[in-house]
Symmetry: C2
Subunit: 472 residues, 2 copies
């Protein structure tokens, strides 16, 4: 265990300087970075943090910002402050794993329970079926598959995706207007470079996306999100694009209402702008037919952004952009005509995986699994916390638990004391959004696909223990 | 066949605007783009090009620049000018493939013979051994291999590479200071972002690298290259880094002389700068032991940049940076802590491929093959053109054929008439270099690893036919 404090670079995580230079709330950004460092084991239990003055100086932050972040994380149970020995990472946040050396992500510590969304249980990767596709694809591939190829990506995969997306998501795609990339984040970078800013974005969304855009010089302006999705009437003439999650607003959970879908497309046509449709979990709808992609309404004014991160694994690094024809050349130029980014052998394997029906089977299996998880969550809440309303459950890999106004932070804190990592809605709010606008928006974002099978019931138990008691 | 002319975007290739905005000679950049478009089949034989005035206007170039480029390409045989029907892609540059639609890279046309360096014959990819490694790696992988991991890349591969590079290249590497990336170009982008400019670079080098750096705002200043490699005494105090190819100067061919290796490191220490060692073909040395990496002299002042592009395939998209410890965090930040870029399954497969000895076997097989190719080239020249001197043949995948001063362009042109794609040394010269500085530097860069086995003898025949007759 460290006796002197760790240096700031270790505390930070290396994304932090970029994030702090962005548009976010700096205290929140720092808190998130610290939580993430603790969760990932980069900061092991017992590790001593630098005095807040030092960290503030290193990061160019106000002392109060760092002091507040420390205090809040102590309150949430991530850190422990002891008289005379400074601030340390709390011992109890990682009770199950041996204490690792700091900065050895290989031996990562994990929280006892993890319901943070966005990290599907990696144990579900279909190794056997994937290897079978790899064998078929590599055996069948022409020699030129191992040499430089089309900068848009392998034609086999673009053809397979065009068919799949048309069939499953109602996307109007031809292989010619699909550009493959290294995951959705890479696709977003390319669009930022080609389109420039500013963009509009849903007031609730992935901070990583906003920060990535900010890193590319593209500022985002928040659109109010209500129970029908983003209020697209707030779109303006100066926005070059709007980033939307129409199938399943992220993270609040509803689909974008049909009239708003049409209005977003009308706006894009009139303003000469683009709708960027982040179709991050469009295949995972439980209670009715999938909501088709907005892209189908107007392929010349909507870009569909997708990846295999939710359906297969984030680690394959394959995503796609379905582009208006006029943007294909510019996106390829931004990508670099000589750089493929995604492995051709993986592209060919995925093409076979899709064409052979294995992808459909995997999506079906995942959908059943997620749905069962969701049902378990709903049942546990009905039994243990019937006063807590769950929303956003008709699709996806997460749900939102509505909390009484003003209680979110204390619930996240209580969860941490239960050894449970879970995030509040506030973690997803655009820093420029004036909250609360849509009424009480305290809530927990519960990623029910995250824990391995055996650990899920205990995680639900911990969650229920952390929830507030019935209101009087 | 097209009757109207193709539009400029098709002529261009989408990298061109970026390249034209760079520091290169614009005529040469345009010519290269046009040659590449013809070679790749993006511009099919018979396709009509836009009038030079239109293209000049579209590209923001002087009319003369475009007119000169057209005239030279007509002279080289790539284009054909017919009275009254404008300029077209010559029919004979792609005699073997059916005429495809323009802009259909899937149905690419190829020159009859291809000795352009940098494109190793893709038919040598070891499919069976690779699949065996994939099977072992995916079977053995822990579940967390399919979830988010260390932003530096999979530890299995970083460990395997650290061992391999130490053993084969004399690199002083620990897994902690290796950052995996999506090929050498991605590594170079990351270094450009972290180090800033300006850099020094060998006056002969890959235009793609210079243009990539320019695209990141990093200008390059040329260092004279003589028979002992780059004259590192020309390095200055303002250079943030120098990009060198010490094992085998690219493309002229010699190793960097030992005193210059030491001097480069001394300069980096004194100037607080870095040597960026592009170890693009360090494993392919034929006549004596491999020349060890400069990185071994001082791991804190040299970054080693490598990839599997020459040894396995460019399409795997796996490269690596061996970094000074102080740069690791910044490079990871530039890479993005949440983005892996390289597929984890491919990383695990490569780790097994290295650890199991399959990588050594592949390198050995490739070395034998390249050496045999080189010997055939040397033998053919001795027989058919004994007056042409070949240099740079003790390593690598290409050789340089020295040509009498002032003849390079006409030889490249004569080669095109033989249906042979091959490049001259001038294609690699830094645009700011005052040539000739080192005496007569006309030469052909002959990539002898490029053709498939059956096509190599004919390619050599075509080459010999294109060479100038004995000088009087």
């Amino acid at each position: 265990m460290a006796v002197s404090w760790v240096n700031s670079a270790e505390v930070l995580g290396s994304d932090l300087p970029l994030e702090l230079s962005g548009t976010g709330n700096r205290r929140a950004v720092l808190m998130r970075a610290l939580r993430e460092a603790i969760r990932s084991g980069r900061l092991a239990p017992g590790t001593r943090l630098p005095p807040y003055r030092s960290l503030a100086a290193d990061l160019g932050l106000a002392r109060n910002t760092v002091a507040d972040a420390y205090a809040e994380l102590v309150a949430e149970g991530w850190l422990a402050a002891r008289q005379g020995s400074g601030t340390r990472v709390a011992e109890r946040t990682a009770p199950r794993t041996p204490v690792g050396r700091p900065r050895t992500p290989e031996r990562s510590a994990l929280p006892a329970h993890d319901l943070v969304q966005g990290r599907p249980d990696p144990s579900v990767f279909p190794r056997t079926a994937w290897l079978a596709s790899a064998r078929r694809a590599l055996t069948r591939a022409p020699h030129d598959a191992f040499g430089p190829g089309d900068p848009r990506g392998r034609p086999e995969l673009r053809r397979a995706l065009a068919g799949y997306l048309a069939r499953v998501r109602g996307v109007r795609a031809s292989p010619e207007r699909i550009v493959l990339c290294s995951g959705a984040a890479h696709g977003l970078r390319l669009l930022a470079e080609v389109l420039g800013g500013p963009w509009a974005a849903e007031e609730y969304g992935l901070p990583f996306h906003r920060e990535l855009l900010a890193g590319q010089g593209v500022g985002t302006r928040p659109l109010t999100v209500d129970e029908h999705g983003a209020r697209v009437a707030e779109l303006g003439r100066t926005d070059r694009a709007v980033l939307l999650t129409p199938a399943h607003q992220f993270p609040t959970g509803g689909p974008l209402r049909p009239d708003r879908r049409a209005a977003a497309v009308d706006w894009a046509r009139a303003a000469g702008a683009l709708v960027v449709e982040d179709d991050y979990d469009g295949e995972f709808r439980y209670d009715r037919q999938p909501v088709g992609a907005v892209q189908g309404l107007d392929p010349e004014h909507v870009v569909l952004l997708g990846s295999v991160s939710k359906s297969l694994s984030t680690t394959l690094r394959i995503g796609w952009l379905v582009l208006p024809e006029r943007l294909v050349e510019a996106v390829v130029a931004a990508k670099g005509e000589r750089e493929q980014w995604s492995s051709a052998t993986e592209q060919l394997t995925l093409a076979d995986f899709v064409e052979s029906g294995a992808y459909d089977r995997q999506v079906r299996r995942m959908r059943q699994r997620h749905r069962r998880r969701r049902d378990q969550l709903v049942a546990a809440l009905e039994r243990r916390a019937p006063h807590v309303r769950v929303t956003g459950i008709s699709a996806g890999l997460h749900a939102v638990l509505e909390l009484p106004p003003g209680t979110e932070r204390s619930v996240v804190r209580a969860a941490a004391w239960q050894g449970l990592a879970v995030e509040g809605l506030a973690d997803y709010l655009h820093p420029s959004a004036l909250a609360p606008r849509g009424g009480g928006r305290d809530g927990l974002v519960v990623g029910y696909a995250t824990p391995p099978e055996h650990a899920y019931p205990e995680a639900l138990e911990a969650l229920c223990r952390a929830l507030p008691p019935v209101l009087g």
